[in-house]
Amino acid sequence: MFIRKRRGWEIPESRVTPEHLVFGRRAALGGLALGGAMALANPAPAAEEAFNPGLRNMRYRPGRDVTAERNATTYNNYYEFGTDKGIYRAAERLPLRPWTVQVDGLVDRPREYAIDDLLQAMPIEERVYRLRCVEAWSMVVPWSGFPLKALLDAVGPQSGAKYVRFETAALRGVMPGLRQSWYPWPYVEGCTLEEAANDLSFMVVGAYGKKLLPQNGAPLRVHQPWKYGFKAGKSLVRITLTAERPKSFWEAIQPQEYGFWANINPEVSHPRWSQASERVLGTGERVPTQLFNGYGEFVADLYAGLQQERLWA
């Protein structure tokens, strides 16, 4: 028997407000409110005006309040800039233009994108995702970006491609963390091709309606919200499709604590703390952590045949 499970964002046809109505009205309202406020207050710098955050994709509802922007932009892990959470000032030095992203490996049309060309070429939209850090805190951020699938389609994965490797920037001059030469820089992350092609896999270029800030991974970051935050490599310079599983940064350092899959599971503790609950940044609240960070309906199928893998660390 074929049982089709309805996904979270799928509601009966009859109940759907035609998309263009929803988006049209939201955009109009948003545009009015934003435009009005900006005209009255200080005129925004040219760069911000030029940024297109895209329309909000209503499929993905966080079920929680959006985290205050100040918290999401001042409480970050970015080891290239330092090991504490307050690296946002140091990260300001990251030069964001010119920036190129190389997409290569087992693809039919390898290409080096200037970041602005990439933004032009990709369908930009806004998604409000929950982000769960392995350190048991979480936040909710309206990201702007495009589905990783769109980029994969543009370059054409070859049949031998099994994995996607994300390589992040390693700029000696501006990143003091790199002077600790014993770390396996550059920071590398990875996932399977199926995971990358999943609807949820998102390439982030903006947040809170603005261009992404360096501390959040500007100018381009990958984000798979059903995995712990360290999988979400920041400031990407290279995306490579490979046949071998890439070794990610933390996996290389401490495989017993940080693995390749790193899917969120409240029942599997980190060796040093419980993952059963998480503190929601800036609220003082602690909420139960959900399997796959609550995105199981989108991604659980990916792992059907993989029970022998260490999926949860």
Binding site: T67, T83, W137, W182, I253, Q254, R272, R286
Partner: protein, 292 residues
């Protein structure tokens, strides 16, 4: 024994007319105001006041309990090491009054450690069963808890009454501060290998220096040459602890980290700092001698 303890805990009333002055921290044994003790007391409160001020001013960030408990934990271990440093300092500076501060600083360390636990409980939203489970389950919390219990026992028996009651056993009991400090530093190492171990390695180096100094034959403890020799010993000890840590706990190239200690053009690594601090000791001791 039991009787002695009771007598110590409830000392006999003094002769009428000579009421015992309440032992406020700023009073000396005779009950007079002491600037030295008052200043020490104020300094001991300062880090806590600073963290409280940050918390009130929204300066601890979006995870105030977590960041606050780490800051307070740092002060607990710093004060514990300072407690252990009082005796060598008093000796090398030929300043015996310094020794009267030891109890207060030790109690300060205990105070910060208790606050540290309370803030951990707050960060876990006071789910007491869960907290007990975590302490039992997570090794780094278990040893922190053991250290804290032992510290509490030392704090409890720190009164004059207990000192008298336990007599020579008091000294032996209070030698527990050494394993406590070692557990505290171990807890420090364990709690976050993901973030830097900088200050943990420094703490290990300083603790080693303090222990080496006690192991010196009593007659050598003020000998400049012996003190000079302790500096590279502390630095080397810290470097080896750091090396062992990375070699056993991570896949990082520990030999490279060990070698980085020699590359002072890169940065002064914590083991090197431990050595430099230790070098300052004979320098200060010599200065003190010249001043006499």
């Amino acid at each position: 024994m039991m009787q002695a303890m009771l007598r110590a805990a409830f000392p006999p009333a003094l002769p009428p007319g000579r009421a015992r002055p309440f032992p406020f921290p700023w009073r000396d044994r005779a009950g007079r105001f002491s600037w030295l003790k008052a200043a020490t007391f104020a300094l001991l409160l300062a880090p806590g006041a600073w963290v409280a001020w940050l918390a009130a001013a929204d300066g601890l960030g979006p995870e105030p309990w977590k960041d606050g408990l780490r800051e307070i934990g740092l002060w607990a271990i710093r004060l514990l090491l300072l407690t252990l440093a009082v005796t060598p300092f008093a000796r090398l500076l030929a300043w015996p009054r310094l020794a009267t501060l030891r109890r207060m600083i030790g109690l300060g360390a205990l105070g910060y450690a208790l606050l540290h636990l309370a803030m951990y409980a707050a960060n876990e939203n006071f789910r007491l069963l869960h907290i007990a489970g975590e302490i039992a389950l997570r090794f780094y919390l278990t040893i922190g808890f053991v250290a804290l219990l032992a510290m509490a026992a030392l704090g409890w028996t720190s009164t004059d009454g207990w000192v008298r009651a336990l007599g020579r056993r008091w000294k032996r009991l209070h030698l527990l501060i050494w394993p406590i400090a070692a557990l505290g530093v171990f807890h420090f190492f364990l709690q976050s290998p993901k973030s830097g171990l900088w200050e943990a390695v420094l703490a290990a180096g300083l603790l080693l220096w303090l222990a080496f100094w006690r192991l010196l034959p009593a007659g050598w403890r003020a000998n400049p040459l012996a003190l000079l020799a302790l500096a590279p010993a502390a630095a080397l000890g810290a470097a080896l602890v750091e090396y062992a840590w990375y070699a056993l706990g991570t896949n990082l190239p520990a030999a490279m980290i060990l070698a980085a200690n020699l590359d002072v053009g890169f940065e002064l690594r914590p083991a090197v700092w431990a050595g430099l601090v230790a070098l300052a000791v004979p320098a200060v001791a010599c200065l003190r001698k010249i001043m006499d």
